[in-house]
């Protein structure tokens, strides 16, 4: 069986967890402000809010779950099902309308 070095992810230069935390906190405030203060058209509002949410989720996945520092094979394995999720939502949306 193939023998591999499994500590490759442990040698990365650690990200500033506190900086990511600050960004997540600020983005949460921005989300609430955009939702309740900004007078924006519904479609634009939804796109902005979803964009901010995806941005926050990516920060958590990349830095707190260390996905950015994992071997590329694992990264691709994690990313592969995401289009399936989009397809699922797309089909549900088509069925619904």
């Amino acid at each position: 069986m193939e023998s591999v070095n499994l500590t490759a992810d442990a040698g990365h230069k650690g990200p500033s967890y506190f900086l990511v935390f600050i960004i997540l906190g600020v983005l949460t405030l921005v989300e609430v402000a955009v939702a309740f203060v900004a007078a924006l058209p519904d479609t634009l509002l939804i796109l902005i809010l979803l964009g901010l949410a995806v941005w926050k989720a990516m920060l958590v996945a990349l830095y707190y779950m260390h996905l950015r520092f994992e071997p590329s094979k694992l990264w691709w394995m994690v990313m592969a099902p995401l289009p399936l999720g989009l397809i699922l939502v797309g089909i549900v949306l088509i069925e619904g309308w």
Partner: protein, 219 residues
């Protein structure tokens, strides 16, 4: 714990690879989390359809749900992610004290999150925002077209946030177990797979909430 079980939980430094360059337990957790992605995607997809095909059953953001309270709760969950990742960083550096402190803080923040959610549920139910049509009938309301939200709104809201809350509850229980193990000296700089796996699950729970908060509370 038997020696065999303990050995199986260790984070190996070299050895038979999973083919993905990570140890098997970690790969297993990632595969599990990916199945969870599909689970929550199905819930969110169903919610989107129901929400936009039955607009009369759903209230505008902030009318029924307490957004400032939940935004604060979201911040608590984000804080717990920081303490979790700090716990991992501490044990990577071999700092047992830091590991125990941050793991305990993470569990505590998780419990606070659940407490706030329980308070929110209690308040909503008291105000008549209930999970199913039968409850609306019991309250003498039909709920259809109500500004304050109908049965469909209640059903989808409690399903989505409830499933997430169940995940947080399981996470807190696992965190408490991990914390106890940390106090027993189970983890070291060379062997902390349990902390890493725990962290992956906890961050995923945080990640899901980030999406749910936007879709359920803000849109």
């Amino acid at each position: 714990m038997s020696n065999t079980t303990a050995a199986a939980l260790e984070r190996p430094t070299t050895g038979p690879g999973s083919g993905f360059g990570v140890y098997n337990m970690k790969l297993g957790m990632w595969v599990f989390l990916l199945s969870e992605v599909m689970f929550f995607t199905a819930l969110i997809g169903a919610y989107i359809i129901l929400r936009f095909t039955n607009p009369g059953h759903f209230a505008e953001p902030g009318v029924v749900l307490n957004v400032p309270l939940t935004a604060a709760n979201t911040f608590i969950l984000i804080c717990s992610s920081v303490t979790m990742v700090k716990a991992f960083a501490e044990i990577e550096a071999g700092n047992q004290r830091g590991l125990r402190m941050y793991l305990g803080a993470t569990a505590l923040l998780g419990i606070v999150f659940l407490g706030v959610q329980a308070f929110e549920y209690s308040k909503l139910v008291h105000e008549g925002f209930v999970p199913a049509a039968e409850f609306y009938a019991a309250l003498g309301r039909d709920g259809a077209g109500a500004v304050e939200g109908g049965p469909l709104y209640g059903a989808t809201f409690y399903t989505m946030t409830g499933f997430h809350g169940a995940h947080v509850t399981i996470g807190v229980l696992c965190l408490l177990f991990t914390t106890v193990m940390a106090f027993r000296g189970r983890y070291t700089a060379a062997n902390h797979g349990g902390v890493e796996i725990m962290g992956l699950y906890w961050h995923f729970v945080d990640l899901v909430w980030i999406i749910l908060f936007t879709i359920v509370y803000l849109i």
